[in-house]
């Protein structure tokens, strides 16, 4: 039987993962390698969303062009983030519409870009993971994942195969957490009001673990939960699926002393 060609994946690690929580990137790479992909990480900075959503189209295009060039060699571009994947998949073509030089390349990149979990399930055909974790978790659907990329069932399907993990759905999973990129710092009180509702919904599930596919949302929700003194920990769904939960959860200090 012929071995299938390994899928050559360029990992778009995302600026938040890169700076704040690299373990998510390693979890993503682990999952991709386990699914038979080769993973490479070209030099990268950001998808350009902050500029794009602030109306600075020129900077957004410059950054997008960088990304398009850097990720040209790969079969697939995978990001552990719905909002960054959405930026590449949905908005890069918008940025270059009508530009005969760049539009074909933007379209080509969009075609091969995926959010991590939907890539694993929809492209690699992954239907279970080998991870084990004794916990009750609740999953938040980030807006981009849900509405730009149609990611909803895939993470739940894989989480259901994590031995020992129980999934408790919160009400209003599909409601925004209030992060919105620069929104949360431009309109902090409104963002706070929105995340307070989300925190209440999370707490009402009785879960001890909050999961999502976007680090921005997770930082926002975890930050609020911690400020409120809630006992819920937050992780990126990739960490749980990869069985790499030895890292402290988001915003939790490292344990002192070796085990």
């Amino acid at each position: 039987m012929a071995e299938p060609m390994a899928r050559r994946v360029g990992l778009f690690v995302t600026c938040l993962v890169d700076l704040i929580r690299p373990s998510v990137g390693f979890a993503a790479a682990t999952l991709l390698e386990d699914a038979g992909c080769t993973v490479e990480v070209p030099p990268q900075s950001c998808c350009g969303q902050p500029a794009f959503n602030s109306g600075d189209r020129a900077t957004a295009r410059e950054i997008a062009a960088q990304v398009i060039v850097a990720f040209a060699p790969y079969d697939y571009v995978v990001a552990p983030s719905g909002s960054c994947a959405g930026m590449l998949k949905v908005h890069y073509p918008e940025l270059f519409r009508g530009d005969p030089n760049w539009q074909p390349h933007a379209d080509a990149l969009a075609e091969k870009t995926y959010e991590l979990v939907s890539f694993l399930v929809d492209v690699c055909g992954l239907d279970r993971v080998k991870a084990r974790l004794e916990a009750t978790a609740t999953y938040h659907d980030s807006c981009s994942s849900l509405r730009e990329l149609g990611v909803r069932d895939q993470p739940r399907r894989l989480l259901a195969t994590v031995e020992g993990l129980r999934l408790a759905e919160m009400r209003d999973t599909e409601v925004c957490c209030g992060f919105g990129g620069t929104f949360c710092v431009k309109y902090p009180e409104i963002s706070n009001a929105i995340v307070a509702k989300k925190a209440a919904a999370i707490a009402a599930t009785g879960a001890d673990l909050l999961l999502a596919g976007d680090l921005g949302c997770l930082m926002n929700m975890a930050g609020k939960l911690q400020r409120d003194g809630a006992k819920i920990e937050a992780r990126h769904v990739a960490e749980v699926l990869a069985g790499m939960t030895h890292e402290p959860a988001i915003g939790v200090p490292p344990r002192r002393g070796a085990a």
Binding site: P43, D56, V175, G178, I190, S191, I194, R227, V252
Partner: protein, 511 residues
């Protein structure tokens, strides 16, 4: 009396308005109902109609087609109105429309006019203008009547008093309806409604002129369409001597069949009903053998910037059929309500339309106060790409240097690095090390310089200590990611959350 003319919009003070709204306990209580009821009802009724998504496509296409031929449909519409004995008046600006309406009222010697709900009338500040010129307008939609008593703007385009509690409404009725016995019982909503019915019935029967808006104008027949649940629009337009329809030019639809398509998505999107109770098609004044109906029928067609919008980036906004679904689903609207937006139109549709009508310099906050969650676009019956349009406004602001200087410079600083990945890598590695070191003890920051917007309400997680890219680069070629254990994790050898017994080696110290 609150002046609703554009120059007094409080949209520039959106942040203050929002702050006030967030602290308003009664408003927050009222908004909970908006979030719970409207969303559930729409979902249920849409789920009961298998063709709903196809109807949304059809509605969008009809609106697009009409807008692309608006000049011709307007002319066709006008011709039919006149054939039926009606009058058509064109108003370029809000002031023009005010003058036309007043002119008609004066010619008829009108003292009081009843009004069906009309957002266009709010847009041009018609009520204040009429009052200032000796004509008394009486709002007849219950929600509009209530906010008129309170001298407020409506806070939602289809449920004007949605921000009020029963107690607030009762106290308003007691304050104003002084001809009724003081000791009457108004504890139940039914008694409040009965009182409003009786008070307004008097006004209906004695009004000289009735003014309504129009949900749609049908070109095929010269017909104006209003959609209500109360029947107030019908009493407004049937009983007085004259009916004035105040409608903006983009309300046109070509045929009665096109109207049917739009009606199927309007009520479902707005209130979760299959049909509103009263959908009325009015064409011209009473006929010679009509025993009732207005002797005169006037249509005032308002432009107020729409004809220019047709040629620009915000043309799709003209598809809007004013259902309110977008604001019913908006997390920002749920948090602050409609008044915070500072003018007539609120929620996502207000965020896109208001800058077109009163200028982006005054309404700048509105398209900025969005997380782009996309729920609005998801439910819009005519599929307006609302987040994309809000972004277009942000682009215009950026081009015109209207965003605050701090935001611009912050962005420029970030962009400098983001455009240079290698430099970015160095800068972020340094930042991650520094913040990771400082934040190691508690794992998070309760306060960060330059990030007080975040840390006022939330903790900020400390970085793990070395950037991903730095660590990935420092790994040997071909080493598998699964053997990674980060330095911040501090585990040597053993992993928790037992997995599949994978080999774990601690790497060297971070570069």
């Amino acid at each position: 009396m609150v002046d609703l003319a554009p120059h007094t919009a409080t949209s520039p003070w959106f942040k203050d308005n929002a702050r006030t709204a967030l602290a308003d306990a009664e408003l927050q209580n009222a908004l909970k109902f908006v979030e719970a009821n409207f969303i559930a009802r729409r979902r249920e009724v849409a789920g009961q109609l298998p063709e709903f998504e196809l109807l949304r496509d059809s509605a969008r296409d009809i609106r697009d087609h009409t807008l692309a031929h608006l000049d011709l449909y307007l002319a066709a519409y006008e011709k039919r109105v006149v054939e039926h004995g009606g009058h058509v008046h064109y108003a370029v600006t809000g002031e023009d429309a005010q003058r036309i309406v007043l002119g008609i009222c004066r010619k008829l010697g009108a003292r009081t006019v009843t009004k069906g709900k009309s957002m266009v009338a709010e847009e041009i500040g018609l009520n204040d203008f009429l009052e200032a010129h000796g004509v008394i307008p009486v709002e007849t939609d219950l929600g509009e009547y209530i906010v008129q008593l309170r001298q407020e703007m409506p806070s939602h385009i289809i449920a004007p008093a949605v921000h009020l509690t029963k107690a607030q409404i009762e106290s308003e009725f007691r304050r104003v309806h002084t001809h009724l016995p003081r000791d009457r019982n108004l504890a139940e909503p039914t008694s409040l409604l009965a009182e409003a019915r009786a008070v307004l019935r008097e006004k209906f029967l004695t009004a000289d002129v009735g003014i309504t808006g129009a949900n749609f104008l049908v070109a095929e027949t010269g017909t104006s369409v209003i959609v209500t649940n109360e029947g107030n629009g019908d009493l407004t337009q049937t009983l007085p001597r004259a009916h004035i329809v105040l409608a903006s030019i983009e309300k046109l639809v070509p045929t009665l069949e096109d109207l049917s398509q739009l009606l199927r998505v309007l009520a479902r999107s707005a209130t979760g009903q299959e049909m509103s109770v009263y959908t009325t098609l009015s064409t011209g004044p009473r006929r010679p053998d009509d025993p009732d109906g207005p002797a005169e029928y006037h249509v005032v067609l308002l432009d107020n910037g729409r004809s220019s919008m047709l040629g620009g980036a915000f043309r799709d906004m003209l598809r809007c059929i004013r259902c309110g679904a977008c604001m019913n689903h908006c997390p920002i609207y749920h948090a602050v309500g409609g008044h915070a937006y500072g003018w007539v139109y609120s929620g996502p549709m207000g965020a896109v339309l208001t800058p077109s009508l009163i200028g982006i310099d005054r309404a700048g906050h509105l398209p900025n106060a969005s997380t782009f969650c996309g729920r609005c676009e998801e439910v819009c019956p005519v599929r307006i790409p609302l987040p994309r349009m809000m972004r277009s406004w942000r682009e215009r602001e950026f081009e015109q240097h209207l965003s605050p200087a701090t935001v611009r410079s912050g962005l420029a600083f970030w962009a400098f690095f983001a455009k240079r990945p290698r430099l970015y890598g160095i800068a972020t590695a340094a930042a991650a090390r520094l913040l990771g070191f400082v934040g190691r003890r508690w794992g998070r920051f309760a306060w960060l310089p330059l990030a007080s917007g975040w840390t006022r309400h939330r903790d900020f997680p400390a970085p793990q200590g070395a950037t991903f890219q730095a660590q990935w680069k420092s790994a040997e070629r071909g080493r598998l990611a699964r053997s990674y254990v980060s330095s911040a994790g501090g585990q040597s050898g053993k992993g928790t959350g037992g997995t599949d017994g994978r080999d774990r080696r601690a790497p060297g110290p971070p570069p």
